[in-house]
């Protein structure tokens, strides 16, 4: 904890937009209506893989009120974040059940819906790729043109004539030597299914495309307006500045609204409708089976250890069941190459991360992308290695945990400023009263109660997954009454970025937070650039930009005040909205008297309106070596750990979480209330992935549970009996006031920690998610039989 006294930093300020949200005034994209606005609906593929033989839209076209019907052949554009592999509407072949094939724009939703129902498509159903092994085998290619697809070279590695969208590797040390040195080698295979982000607001986009020029205006529920602008400009071959993306309130994103989704479709529909605005709201079913998900994954892990518990080598294969299009999926796979072995020192490692095309709904970023998945494998493996060693899993982790001087698997040296995973682990172990695994005798002694308790531990790490040269910016202006307006490019999707930035600016300027107004809705034509609202990077990067921006405004005020007070900048200080002379405190000028330039009594003026800027670019980061995966990808590592106590009903398989403690080294909490909100919310989302959620596909690749009826997310009844957020603050010198990001991290390792506690409770190791009551009850039944 920093001993510095701050006015705003670390204080539990209320969310700056909360009033609008509790009064129903907050306007989301679906709430917008425009003159002449049309409504779109799509017809999507009922098959996982099929050839489109014919499409008959004649009956639909004849309906009164139908303004445009588009099919894939009408739209020659390809889009894609990293691999340009996706058509706006399927053309020739459909690649997943749920893929949009025809789009209709009509005067209202019901007419569009009616038109969709009158479209006839003839398909020739084809065999499809449904499993990781089928994808690797490659007898059928999801993208027959994989060799010709455009992609970002040296970052992603699509394999010719295969279903491997990218094969990323980490090679450090010598695993042959590492395994030879090992006293024990432990191998396991773990899996987890695809899971939906399930934001409460489904994807929504409205576009108005001027037919006389290239101008396109978009309102969207996106997390990344600047990425939408860039990718759409590229797809349509128009200039970035022709596109204006406006983001009203967003009802949750969790990564699913990063990248580009419905925006291109509404744009081409608007063009086809002579420039009338076209709105498309995804239904909840479409949110599940048309819009992207988190990939399923299989991890095969082999660990070599010495008798004393020191890890000598890791060999890991992560195979991602990533669906029909690459989207963020290849970057999810890539994140494993520098973070996929957990917060441990591994001297020798070979890690292969293969993002695979399959005929399923495609995957994208999901809160802490790649990390919940890889940590599911690694943190279960850490426990299972400890079991084989006969060692306490706490001691085993502590023996290998990253400490100052250690190298990460991509060869980056951890310093005392990097945060302390050992402190996180120690804190949660203490909080849950960890004393080591229960013995079999202890388990047996409680079996008559029908309920068995167990405890577990798990660690985690994540750094923002972003290009090494990612940047952001802020603009600040002062009004005549001394209020400050900040323009930034972030989207506040509920994480609280606007509040955090107001606190940082108010701290630097030493003024009341009520007088600092962050301006939303984010608008790419008005707000300064930010890469994307993803990766838990904004408190760090945006915080630095806003801090520099506020410092720049202070400097401008001091320059003007130095002239007015006949002094020099060095002799001036600021406090409580005054610039004053350090040695003559009564000689001072109020901020507001400098806001539009300073005016002398006789009417002379100096300076001008205060407009400040602040930019921040990640520094010192590098691309990863294309062969070895070595390099410096991490702006800031946020380390953490969970400790949990659960109770399992051995009849029903139901898991009750008695207590979960979650610690994160975030350097400095800018707003403790919001940090705790991220922790509590993220932990429950992790519990959802652990116990409840998961996609179920039929053998033919039809999604069987595309609704909240069959694909529930946790409700208030599913919360832990006790949840303890623990904030650890070892500041990072280049973070704003020492802060690191924490938005995504609380979700990571929640499935692993519950899995570890299940072993403690039952003596059974679980290898597959979710721990649904039936899966747990079945395992108990089989385990007791043994």
């Amino acid at each position: 904890m920093s001993d510095k006294e701050y006015r705003h930093i670390g204080k539990p300020s209320d969310r700056v937009e909360a009033l609008e949200k509790v009064t129903g005034q907050a306007t989301y994209t679906a709430d917008l209506e425009f003159p002449g606005m049309l409504h779109a609906k799509c017809l999507y593929s009922p098959y996982a893989r099929a050839e489109i033989v014919s499409i008959d839209v004649s009956q639909a076209k004849a309906l009164l009120g139908v303004k445009a019907i588009l099919v894939g052949d009408d739209i020659p554009y390809l889009v894609g974040l990293y691999m340009v592999d996706k058509r706006i509407l399927a053309r020739g072949t459909v690649r997943y059940q749920g893929e949009p094939v025809v789009a209709v724009a009509a005067v209202d939703e019901k007419t569009a819906e009616l038109a969709v129902s009158k479209i006839k498509i003839e398909y020739k159903v084809l065999p499809s790729i449904q499993t990781i092994d089928e994808a690797l085998e490659g007898k059928i290619l999801v993208h027959e043109d994989i060799n010709d697809l455009e992609y970002i070279k040296n970052v992603f590695f699509p394999q010719p004539d295969s279903n491997i969208a990218s094969w990323n590797k980490t090679i450090k040390g010598d695993i042959k030597k590492g395994f030879e040195e090992a006293d024990l080698i432990v191998e396991n295979e773990l899996t987890l299914p695809a899971v939906a982000h399930a934001p409460m607001e489904t994807h929504v986009a409205i576009a108005q495309a001027d037919i006389y020029t290239n101008k396109v205006k978009i309102w969207s529920s996106t997390q990344s307006p600047f990425a939408v602008r860039k990718l759409l400009a590229k797809a349509l071959h128009i200039s970035t500045g022709d596109i204006q993306v406006i983001v009203p309130y967003v009802g949750g994103g969790f990564g699913g609204k990063a990248g580009i989704h419905l925006e291109p479709l509404v744009t081409v529909l608007s063009r086809a409708c002579k420039g009338r605005p076209v709105k498309l709201i995804a239904t909840r079913e479409e949110e599940f089976n048309q819009l992207p998900t988190r990939a399923g994954m299989r991890g095969r892990v082999k660990t070599g250890v010495k008798k004393d518990g020191k890890i000598t080598a890791f060999e890991i294969f992560y195979d991602w069941d990533s669906g029909a299009y690459a989207d963020y999926g290849v970057n999810v796979g890539k994140s494993a190459t520098y973070s996929g072995a957990g917060p441990y020192e591994v001297p020798n490692i070979e890690l292969h991360s293969r993002t695979l095309y399959t005929n399923k709904v495609f995957s994208t970023a999901y809160r802490g992308f790649g990390h919940l998945e890889t940590h599911w494998v690694i943190e279960r493996q850490m426990d299972m290695v400890a079991q084989k060693l006969g060692m306490d899993p706490y001691e085993f982790r502590m023996k290998n945990i990253l400490r100052p001087g250690c190298l990460t698997i991509s060869g980056e040296e951890i310093s005392e400023n990097s945060g302390a995973p050992d402190q996180c682990l120690a804190a949660v172990a203490k909080e849950i009263g960890w004393t080591g695994y229960r013995s079999e005798a202890e388990r047996r002694s409680n079996i008559n109660t029908g309920k068995l308790r167990g405890k577990g531990l798990a660690c985690l790490q994540k750094a923002p997954a972003m290009p090494p040269h990612t940047s952001t910016s802020a603009i600040m202006q002062m009004d005549d009454d001394g209020n400050v307006r900040i323009m930034i490019g972030v989207v506040d999707i509920g994480q609280g970025a606007n509040t955090i930035m107001a606190q940082i600016a108010a701290e630097v300027l030493d003024m009341p937070i009520e007088k600092v107004k962050v301006i939303w809705d984010t608008d790419t034509s008005r707000h300064p650039y930010d890469w994307s609202t993803v990766a838990s990077k904004y408190t760090f990067m945006g915080g630095n930009a806003v801090k520099k921006c506020a410092q720049n405004m202070l400097l401008q005020m001091k320059e003007m005040a130095a002239q007015a007070l006949r002094s020099s900048i060095e002799d001036l200080a600021h406090k409580d909205e005054y610039i004053y002379l350090i040695h003559h405190k009564n000689k001072k000028i109020k901020y507001k008297d400098l806001a539009l330039g300073y005016a002398y009594e006789n009417g002379n003026g100096i300076g001008g309106p205060l407009i400040a800027k602040g930019t921040y670019m990640a520094d010192g980061l590098t691309f990863l070596d294309p062969v070895t995966g070595q390099g410096f990808p991490a702006l800031d590592w946020t380390f953490g750990a969970h400790g949990v106590e659960i109770e399992v009903d051995i009849e029903t398989g139901d898991i009750q979480i008695i207590k979960i403690a979650s610690a994160f080294d975030i350097g400095q909490a800018i707003n403790k209330k919001l940090v705790e909100g991220q922790i509590m919310g993220g932990v429950l989302q992790g519990i959802g992935s652990a116990i409840i959620e998961g996609y179920k596909f039929s053998p033919e690749g039809k999604l069987m549970n595309p609704s909240f009826t069959d694909n529930k997310i946790p409700t208030a009844k599913d919360i832990p009996m006790e949840i303890i957020p623990i904030i650890i603050e070892n500041p990072q010198p280049d973070g704003p006031f020492g802060a690191r990001g924490v938005g995504e991290h609380p979700m990571i390792s929640v499935p692993s920690v519950i899995g570890n506690a299940l072993y403690d409770a039952l003596g059974i190791n679980f290898y597959n998610l979710p721990f649904s009551p039936e899966n747990v009850a079945l395992a108990i039944g089989n385990g007791l039989k043994k």
Binding site: K21, Q25, K110, L114, E201, G252, R284
Partner: protein, 180 residues
């Protein structure tokens, strides 16, 4: 039923019934409203499309998520699976109607103070479930609060701050009642 799924018969999306429009009159947030509507229109669509009250949200359209929760005659209901005509002559309260004399209510203030919202999309429905609970039970215990909001999904907060906010609002409202 539409033919969207190639006649698989699994879709029940709203399509204009073609039936004669019917006069609906009811009271919404204390004001009398009348409108001729399609008899198959849902109450949520009536509120949003006819009355332009956009506070109530649609999260699923099938009564699972609770984002559309409103109060009808004192009971919290999912307005997305209720026909607008069921509100005939009834009194409706939406999130736009829970402020008091131009000021936000204690419940709304406690949601702000406890950070019981992040993205805010579930908040209107959550507030209405909480309001209905406190109206019928001014002193709910934790499990009663959980029961009352169990039909309202929230993907952001983990529910804990919401439960605390409702408990705190109940306490403050009881104190206010005593003082009045």
């Amino acid at each position: 039923m539409c033919e969207k799924h190639n006649n698989e018969g699994t879709c029940f999306t709203y399509v204009d019934s073609g039936l004669k429009k019917v006069l609906l009159s009811c009271i919404v947030n204390g004001e009398s409203v009348c409108a001729y509507i399609d008899p198959t229109m849902t109450l949520l669509n009536f509120l949003r499309r006819e009355l332009k009250l956009f506070g109530s949200k649609e999260g699923c359209g099938e009564g699972e998520c609770g984002a559309c929760t409103i109060i009808m005659n004192g009971v919290a209901v999912n307005s997305c699976i209720i026909l607008a005509l069921e509100a005939m002559n009834e009194s409706i309260i939406t999130v736009e109607g829970i402020n008091k004399n131009g000021k936000i209510s204690i419940l709304q203030q406690e949601f702000i103070s406890h950070d019981a919202l992040q993205c805010g999309f579930c908040t209107p429905g959550m507030l209405m479930s909480a309001r209905a609970l406190l109206d019928r039970n001014p002193n709910p215990n934790e499990s009663e609060i959980i029961e009352a909001i169990a039909g309202n999904f929230c993907r952001c907060t983990g529910y804990v701050p919401i439960i605390r906010a409702i408990a705190s609002a109940a306490k403050l409202e009881r104190e206010e009642m005593k003082n009045e």
